[in-house]
Subunit: 346 residues, 2 copies
Amino acid sequence: MAEKGNKYGTHRVVEPQGVLTQAAQRISNDMAKLYTNEIICDVISLNIDSASFTQIKETCGKDPQKIEEMILGIVGERGKMQNPVTGSGGMFIGTVAYIGKDLKDRGLKIGDKIASLVSLSLTPLKIERIKKIHMDIDKVDIEGKAVLFESAIYAKLPDDMSEALALAALDVAGAPAQTAKLVKPGDSVLILGAGGKSGILSGFEAVKRASPTGSVIASVRRESQGKELIELGSCTDYIVADATQPVDLLEKALEANGGNEYDISISCVNVEACEMAAILPVRNGGIVYFFSMATSFTRAALGAEGVGKDVTMLVGNGYTKDHAEITLRELRESEKIRNLFNAKYI
Amino acid sequence: MAEKGNKYGTHRVVEPQGVLTQAAQRISNDMAKLYTNEIICDVISLNIDSASFTQIKETCGKDPQKIEEMILGIVGERGKMQNPVTGSGGMFIGTVAYIGKDLKDRGLKIGDKIASLVSLSLTPLKIERIKKIHMDIDKVDIEGKAVLFESAIYAKLPDDMSEALALAALDVAGAPAQTAKLVKPGDSVLILGAGGKSGILSGFEAVKRASPTGSVIASVRRESQGKELIELGSCTDYIVADATQPVDLLEKALEANGGNEYDISISCVNVEACEMAAILPVRNGGIVYFFSMATSFTRAALGAEGVGKDVTMLVGNGYTKDHAEITLRELRESEKIRNLFNAKYI
């Protein structure tokens, strides 16, 4: 008789006790004992996190045999594919093999092909054998099983596009999905780092949600990027500015918005010290959404106070409800974005 | 004829051009040229930031004459009291000497005694002479002038309490004011680091706004703190837990809330790695408000994603509209909080 595990998977923590599975040194990858709120998948492949795979390759002198041994060693010891040096994991692709009875209402069925959207660094994994190591794309085909906890997020892989295309978009799904929820018709939106993957998808969503009366201004580094974004439908206008130069960016951003401050700014710019460029152009009572991992909490908090800005500043959560569906819908709607992603990101 | 300056004071940046006054090496402290959107104050005293004053004292071997020369040197060179080593400033107390015509509607009059709530690291300052150095409280009495830009925030010092008491509360005014705006009647609220200055004030506000049907649970490190907070009216119940142990804290927090997840958590805990303790107890769709400067942006963003939590995470802005009024009102309402602050924080 299967019992119910902890929502976050703490029932599988072996040591040290009291932490979550990501922080644990070792977790249980016992696939024989079934829990009513777990999903077990037959794993097809592991997409190892780039920092982790690079470290493994270097340690092993790129010798496939040694890499195989090292991966089997890590998973054997820790019960999960978490690189002990980098701390990072990656994600897996697999087919659903078991669905606990508490999770029957998830819309999943045995055999569905899914991608895990939580890190391998917290996911119980058992490898029977390694089938192939794809050295250049950080991918390892295996035979084995992995567990998804009740709290885990994942996406059913769609039939109507390539796996690689879907994964490239799902990688940043939090940003466009949050954008879709924040932006209202008539809003003026400023997007920093608009030319990157998350910027393109967030901009497209912002244009859709702000229309027909709103405006979405993209901040980019090169004129050509701005033109491309208009062509893609990821902005209504653009400025060429450097987000590390907040005063100059502010002036250009205000000019592009008829002299008015913005309702919302969205920072996807993957460079340090761009917090003020996201804060200054926004009106009092407006929203600053930081999706960039280069964001400094203290620079944002003290920066807004220093200029007396009463803005709501949001930490970009990688997950929000329906984030996969919202993001994949963009690829379905826009042939131009599909083509760009196929050319550039896979 | 006075002209209008930039809202953020960039018209006073001397070098390097293109940055805000905080990032500038040197700004103009010319008090003869008047701008229509500036306020000039006769400064009474500078409250030097603790990190800065410690560095100055150590460099000068605590010699008052040398400290005086060093402060005059910094301000003479930079046009502001920004310690070149620590980068930090402090705040000033002074009386209003000039109000530009664009700021006539601020409810200020010549002679009003105010405290600046923006950092000295971005405030034009001219010192005529140093009158006294209060070595133990990081305070320097001076004769001189300082400028507040249109964007600057400040508070009129109240007549009904001591200056020191008002300043001790205003120091963390952002947290209780944001709490007052976030918490609604019936909400369940969890406060981490509830026993510190910002925790006490935020808890009091949360109880006020959640009442009569809501609950405010304080997480503290010692039983005695919990009892004190109930006595103060800063919580309705408490748990004794360690915020660096999220699983244990989660269990205790849920138990204290009838097994239910919280609508809002507020983190005032000044320790690293407490993000998960703030995220886990909150329901999907709830709010996590990070006021602690020890918060890591990436730990929060990746942590919420890892456990599939669709929560709105807010960066604690030190400023929000009416933050000084909301915070001082607490001191006026509660004799117990006044007594505690007088005993402990001034």
